[in-house]
């Protein structure tokens, strides 16, 4: 097959990419010390994505490669995003119509304990879905509120 030799990524390009990766690594560590609030996670993932793209495009040669390989990798990446995003669509909105409690029983109980310690009443809505105030040992305790006139 008469093809004109393999494509070679110049050493200078490889070194420059490596330099970029190191700079970005320092950047992401530095940024971790800056209080960004809710932006912290997206910024860190953004920097990681840029680093990954550098590796994919230059170290992995995808920039110069057959487009089918690039398409393959893109599709793989898209499905990872789909997997994460759609699962979060459930977990972030768990209990949105009230047919499932957003919080676990453990969490509710922990909150009740804290409330008891503060000697406070619980928020009304957590009582509504989690009627743990009539546990077995106090059967009939709330009868007066139910049956009394």
């Amino acid at each position: 097959m008469a093809h004109d030799g393999p494509h070679i990524v110049p050493k200078s390009v490889l070194l420059r990419v490596f330099g970029g990766l190191i700079v970005l690594t320092i950047l992401t560590v530095a940024v971790a010390y800056v209080p960004l609030g809710p932006l912290g996670v997206p910024v860190a993932i953004g920097i990681a994505a840029v680093k990954a793209s550098l590796v994919v495009l230059f170290f992995m040669h995808l920039k110069y490669d057959n487009p089918v390989n690039a398409l393959t990798f893109t599709i793989g990446t898209i499905f990872v995003i789909v997997f994460v995003a759609i699962t979060l669509l459930d977990t972030a909105f768990r209990g949105d119509l009230g047919n499932v409690n957003q919080r676990t029983v453990q969490e509710i109980q922990a909150e009740q304990e804290r409330a008891e310690q503060r000697n406070e009443a619980l928020p009304a809505d957590s009582l509504r879905i989690a009627p743990a105030d009539y546990p077995d040992q106090e059967r009939g305790a709330s009868m007066s509120t139910e049956g009394g006139s």
Partner: protein, 315 residues
């Protein structure tokens, strides 16, 4: 058709779900018959009569192709929209729903009522929205009442709920539909839909344990029903007369000037129709405890008797 396919409909959601089910079934059947009829007709009409046949290629019809993309799309979006609306209704619990707590375990159900009554049969009042708050003590289960068209997985460490409003009195099946191990298929229960009166009565009767002596029951009720807020046992004067030495007292003076003998009948009347006879020196503030069952009243009376060492004179 609904009778063939679907079980008895006994909740407000059922007719809605059923009409959707029937709609999809009818449309599907029509389309299925159409597809199969066309297929069979072509198979018959264009059967190979000569092994060397070379039929001319058929021109593709863009119109045809577009029509069988567009029409099904419209149909399914219609069905989606319908199902979506019913689903929202199915999942949105009415705020005034009566709450029953459901505990699932391998392999049985327990239903717990706000007054602490527990039962392995679910009683619900007819024509009232009922909400279940469910959790599981070990693995996944699923609460399914075919007649109500409700189903919801029951999770450990998390409360989930369904709601329904039963429309027909009767007894229906509760199934577990999430596989939960050995006796999954035996994990069923009955749900009994009864009138509100019957329901209240059942609730009251069940709340009254029959296995403890009457005085002890009365003692429990004394605190549970809030009697101790007004009636002392040590003779001290509170909002109401003390129960110490009350029973058997003669010449008990009423606000209207009459006197009574404190016997069982008097106590009973005072509990059930508290406003009838007001003791001299006290306000008419006691609520009527007509919701108590016969046995509970008897229990209270027995408890009051214990607080006194005298008997009413026999006459």
């Amino acid at each position: 058709m609904g009778d063939f396919w679907l079980p008895e409909a006994a909740s407000t959601m059922a007719p809605e779900v059923d009409s959707l089910f029937n709609f999809v079934t009818v449309v599907s059947t029509i389309l299925l018959v159409g597809v199969v009829a066309a297929m069979l007709w072509f198979v018959y009409r264009y059967r190979r009569q000569d092994p060397g046949e070379r039929p001319a290629p058929v021109e593709e019809s863009k119109l045809l192709e577009i029509s069988w993309i567009v029409i099904p799309t419209i149909l399914v979006l219609l069905v989606f929209n319908w199902g979506f609306k019913s689903f929202i209704k199915q999942k949105t619990v009415p705020p005034d729903a009566y709450e029953i707590r459901v505990q699932a375990r391998q392999w049985s159900w327990t239903f717990e009522y706000p007054n602490g009554v527990t039962s392995d049969t679910m009683y619900v009042p007819a024509n009232e929205p009922v909400k279940t708050t469910m959790s599981s003590s070990n693995v996944l289960h699923s609460f399914f009442v075919p007649a109500f068209r409700v189903k919801q997985d029951v999770l450990p460490n998390r409360y989930s709920s369904v709601w329904f409003e039963a429309t027909k009195k009767g007894t229906y099946d509760v199934f577990c539909t999430e596989y939960c191990g050995l006796d999954h298929s035996e994990m069923d229960a009955a749900v009994k839909v009864v009138s509100r009166e019957r329901f209240d009565q059942w609730l009251k009767e069940s709340a009254t344990p029959t296995d403890i002596p009457l005085p002890r029951l009365g003692e429990q009720l004394y605190s549970q029903q809030g009697c101790q807020g007004c009636h002392s046992l040590d003779g001290s004067d509170m909002v109401g007369p003390t129960w110490q030495g009350l029973y058997g007292k003669t010449g008990h003076e009423m606000a209207d000037g009459s006197t009574v003998t404190v016997d069982e009948n008097y106590l009973r009347t005072s509990i059930l129709q508290s406003g009838d006879k007001i003791v001299q020196g006290y306000q008419n503030v006691m609520p009527s405890y007509s919701n108590l069952s016969e046995r509970e009243v008897a229990g209270l009376v027995a408890f009051i008797k214990e607080q006194s060492d005298q008997e009413p004179p026999q006459n």
